[in-house]
Amino acid sequence: MEKPEKLIIDGKRLDGRAPEEMRPLKIEAGVLKRADGSAYVELGENKVLAAVYGPREMHPRHLQRPDTAVLRCRYNMAPFSVEERKRPGPDRRSVEISKVTRQALEPVLFLELYPRSVIDIFIEVLQADAGTRTAGITAAAVALADAGIPMRDLVSSVAVGKIDDMIVLDLTKEEDQWGTTDMPVAIVPRKKLVSLLQMDGNLTEEEFKRALDLAFRGCEQIYQAQRQALKEKYAIKPEGE
């Protein structure tokens, strides 16, 4: 498609949102029966499914670690999730996203409780519209909780960016493509610690600080929605865990 002349008109983005407004968000826990834990996230046109298996025995054995569980993560896009059919199998982008996703989630887990084990996180992007890695982390955190794996906290994730020289929350594919900057962030909410941070584009010092502000606020909204989803699943317990 053609590059639009402006991405923000009269203070509104092309989809009508205000700069600091997130797309509609829906989170559901426990959507799969076979997986030990699972979650489904819709953020705007993104549809992402996450499943957790484990802790389970690690095979092959030489990959076991005697002092800790190993956390593995696979981020994957469905062939039909994007405009041009994506060939199945991992590409370089998904390998990198799998790695940073794993590192974004690992800080909240007590892996040392499960030596010689593995915890697997599988993230499938069914429909993509920018922000799939952050939606995947958000879903995976809920799936880990749904699996009953002890966690220090959830992890909440969203992207901020710069379009038309303005810092905005939660880019669409169009904004990502034609904007200047994309900055995905994941936060461990209670302690306000950043467990994922990537950026490409351009940010001045002022913009970087403003982007961090907005990311923290966005992640707080994500966090509330994650807790709500877990509450609904485990309705008897008023507090998701």
């Binding site: 799969l32 499914l49 469905a78 062939p79 039909f80 041009e84 059919r85 599988f122 993509a128």
Partner: protein
């Protein structure tokens, strides 16, 4: 798809079968609850989420330009791919499709191809140079048995859901789908035939036979699976079952 199952469980399911009963209380000729939801994936030209009980399969269709095969210069291309996603089962692994995923894709492919459900001749654009390629990607999301029937149904539902793309030089009024092949899988346990095996049943069954039929009841594809055998009579009985149940399933295709 080898899953460990205890001898006790195996004997229990086998004993039930001998009595004509099933582990989830169904009749031998009864499917689990079937649900077909189309159009949920907007990035696909057509899509369908099929549930057979707890089994969930998502199929997405993408239609793109491609070169025709050298020996069929005036024919569109059909490609069916199946992914047994590791999130669907603890026994599914990441990596390139294994023999089970390949068999699944090929069984679904044959049902569609051999029944000529899509008129591939109509998908030619420029002889020898440019045709429409129809990609059907089958995504197993939750595996509780009988992925074949769920996948075949999802594939057909997704094809029937295809919207003519508006924003490109689409050359046809619609995707020319002319038939509705439906796959019915019958498991054999302790000499008893039963449709739509759930995972517990798949894990103990002697063998399975998938029979894909079209509207007039004739067969367009078959595939025996498992390490047991069927007698001639069992095969004829299975065909009766398949014909009867295909009507039910086809009703979900609208």
């Amino acid at each position: 798809m080898y899953e460990m199952i205890s001898k006790v469980r195996r004997d229990y399911i086998g004993d039930l079968a001998r009595q004509g009963k099933r582990v989830d209380g169904r009749a031998l000729n009864q499917y689990r609850e079937v649900s077909v939801e189309v159009g949920s994936i907007k990035s696909a030209q057509g899509s369908a989420l099929v549930k057979l009980g707890r089994t969930q399969v998502l199929a997405g269709v993408k239609i793109q330009h491609a070169e025709p095969f050298a020996d069929r210069p005036d024919s569109g291309v059909l490609i069916v791919n199946a992914e047994l996603l590791p999130l669907a089962s603890p026994t599914f692994e990441s990596g390139r499709p294994g023999e089970d995923a390949i068999e699944l894709a090929r069984v679904v492919d044959r049902g569609i191809r051999e029944s000529e459900a899509i008129d591939l001749e109509k998908l030619a654009i420029k002889s020898g140079e440019d045709v429409w390629a129809v990609f059907i990607d089958i995504y197993a999301l939750d595996h509780d048995g009988n992925l074949i029937d769920a996948s075949a149904l999802a594939a057909m539902a997704a094809l029937l859901n295809v919207k003519t793309p508006e924003d490109e030089a689409w050359t046809l009024p619609g995707l020319p789908v002319t038939k509705k092949p439906v796959a019915v899988t019958i498991a054999k346990i302790n000499g008893k035939l039963m449709v739509d095996p759930c995972l517990d049943e798949e894990n103990v069954m002697d063998a399975r036979i998938t029979m894909t039929t079209i509207e007039d009841g004739s067969l367009c594809a078959m595939q025996k699976g498992g390490i047991g055998c069927f007698s001639r009579e069992e095969l004829e009985q299975a065909y009766e079952l398949a014909r009867a149940k295909s009507v039910e399933l086809r009703a979900h295709l609208g």
